[in-house]
Amino acid sequence: MAKKRTVRSIPQERTPVRELDPLQRSANFDEVNCGYTENEAVLESQRCLFCPDPKCIAGCPVSINIPGFIERIGEKDFRGAYDIITGTNLLPAVCGRVCPQENQCEGVCVVGESLTPVAIGRMERFVGDMAISNRWVNIPFIESVRFRVGIVGSGPAGMACAADMAKAGCDVTVYEAFHEAGGVLRYGIPEFRLPNSVVDAEIEKLEMLGVKFECNTLVGRLFTIPQMLTELGFDAVFIGTGAGYPTMLGIPGDSLNGVLSANELLTRCNLMRARDFPNVDTPLPLGKHVVVIGAGNTAMDALRVSKRLGAASVTCLYRRSKAEAPARAEEVHHAEQEGIDFHWLSAPVEILDDGNGSVCAIRCIKMELGEPDRSGRRRPMPIGGSEFELETDQVVFAIGTNANPIIGQTSDLKLNNRGYIETDGDLMTSMAGVFAGGDIVTGAATVIEAMGAGRKAARGMKAFLGIRDIGPIGTGTARFGIDTREHNYRRVRTM
């Protein structure tokens, strides 16, 4: 760096990103955030101070060398930036789009103390997209080690573990219950946030590494985890089945027609492409007045999908206030722009029947925030006599998910009292050689955390199988126990 940058010398304003017009976009599924152009990315890169002790790295769950890749962008060495990011993050085009950056890397960026923080996510996405359009892949020299690894679930956790094990020379097969791979990235997150083409590109990269995908395979039922180790001959197994089991509302009227989980709405719309009904066969419930309960990412997606499907009014009910909403800030902002009605501090009490088994209204109650609860958030308390009714013909609940029960039903794996899989520090389960990570271990979390868990499990798996790196191995350890300088090439067996 020629001159040392200071908060005062850098561009004060964050480089804006082009977005589709709220009015137009809320009628289609085109991606809302158009991403930086080359010039915009380079301009934004000028805002990084290249801190000697970069806080942002500590804020990123996989400890990407953020100033490192930003510096490359500044030098227009985009390929170099890509190499740095993919040293730790397999899915930059995905994470740049869906990470809750305000709670992670950008939340702790030093620039953010006085200005808007450096737009790390947008730059990361720019690099990821550039890699996809130029078909860059970092395929290392892979020396076969003749181990076979089975991965259960093709979400970000499974994809990350698969990539690392394939790079380590293993023969990797990913089993997915659905007919298409990608996990939540495919069935949950809608195209206007994460286009399918991005997910396809990331899966294609894994295939180039030699990873095989077997869809239509419900593990536990078609074969069990123990059978994978015995009859199917896998040397190690990773379970990344996610936590998709929707939590029920548990209020009167929750089984009426017109009441459905956000997962069902999103799966029909995204995976089954029901928004093209009747050109595709899967129908989608279309509501005129849609009420969505919850304020996480899933709820935001359900709200915005309902809007795009043509609902006249779309209302969000959340029992806490906007400040507590777990969704990414950008999504809440986009939802507001698109005309979603937010009822903060409101909770559902009862869903009312129109007399024919369908929903006609929802009775709610106003809440106020009391003392902080165990999660540190202030506990919402109902305000007596504040009940009100909203007319609605479709209620979508997005109030959280639980562990999927199938693997537990069909194996002796040790689960905790909430049904999630128990693991040790290396993410190995109670069964030797079987690892687990992602939402099925932690409960619903984020894409990048699931990916980090997949990589961490891969590291444990390599140790278990006795595969080690040759060549220099770095010393610094990152939050997920993945060495940021770990080399992903030229591994040999030690046994």
Binding site: C215, F223, G244, M248, N263, M272
Partner: protein, 294 residues
């Protein structure tokens, strides 16, 4: 990608047909009471179908399908021997709990006739006395009579119009069986919700354990969407992972029937559209030859 090849097809009537699909691994894993999710083509719907039979030696599973709407009518028109299904996942659901009943009645009506077969056979293999009660609208719709005869100690066929067997519904068949046998340990009833409800009512007074296999609308079949939720006693259960078999005396059938109506309008639109273009498309894709995508 997998290939799910159709190796045999038989038509039992103008609405009911059988497909035998090659899937050796599934044939090995399948147990009575389980089902699959089928997608016949890439734009298709994921529809649940019971594994009506499986042949571990041949490596095939058997589906018996009633053409009732767009997807099933389309399968009737386009699924032929040598063709492939786009998606086939399973076996799903918890296998039927094979009780040690010494005497059991296995009731099948409409699209439930085929699915009750593996259960009846399992009872027989367990050396129980098996009474089959099968309901059809008329004589022409009867199928698998021989198959059932080979494993049932008694078989009561009921037709709505009396053109074969006794005239009446399966509940009349159940009453008949109960009259002759005071020592029935268990009843299994599979068919349309109305029929299962009536069957459960028929055994309630005598307190005979009655298992039913529920068929709510499903999407994933893996416990992810909650679309298949049913009320059993005080609880909400997901039929795809907690069932599909439940205690018939605890199931809220009215709730199930209301929920099955949810997509009636969309089903009508799809079926009408299909019927209009049916002949054209059916000839266009017949016989289906799919490219081998390895």
């Amino acid at each position: 990608m997998n290939r799910f090849e159709i190796v045999a097809r038989e038509d039992y009537s103008d609405v009911t047909f059988m497909l035998e699909v090659l899937h050796p691994m599934m044939a090995r894993a399948a147990n009575p009471g389980q089902f699959v999710i089928v997608m016949s083509h890439a734009e298709g719907e994921r529809i649940p179908l019971t594994i009506a039979d499986f042949d571990r030696a041949k490596g095939t599973i058997t589906l018996v399908i009633q053409a009732v709407g767009k997807s099933t009518m389309e399968m009737q028109a386009t699924c032929h021997v040598g063709g492939v299904l786009h998606g086939l996942a399973g076996p799903m659901g918890i296998p039927s709990h094979l009780s040690d009943a010494r005497k059991a009645i296995c009731v099948g009506g409409g699209l439930g006739v085929a699915p009750v077969f593996p259960q009846a056979r399992a009872f027989k293999q367990n050396e129980a006395y098996v009474i089959g009660v099968l309901g059809f609208r008329n004589k022409d719709l009867i199928f698998w009579e021989d198959k059932f005869r080979s494993i049932c100690d008694e078989l009561i066929i009921c037709t709505d119009d009396g053109s074969a067997g006794i005239k009446g519904f399966v509940t009349d068949g159940i009453d008949l069986a109960l009259k002759h046998h005071q020592d029935i340990d268990e009843v299994i009833a599979i068919g349309p919700p109305m029929m299962m409800k009536a069957s459960a009512d028929a055994t309630r007074a005598a307190g005979i354990k009655t298992m039913v296999s529920l068929n709510p609308i499903m999407v994933d079949g893996t416990g992810m969407c909650g679309g298949c939720r049913v009320k059993v006693g005080e609880e909400v259960r997901f039929a795809c992972v907690d069932g599909p078999d439940f205690d018939g005396h605890a199931v809220d059938f009215d709730d199930l029937m209301v929920r099955l109506r949810r997509y009636r309008e969309e089903e009508r639109i799809a079926t009408e559209r299909w019927s209009e273009t049916c002949r054209m498309r059916a000839t266009a894709v017949e016989p289906i030859e799919m490219p081998d995508i390895g």
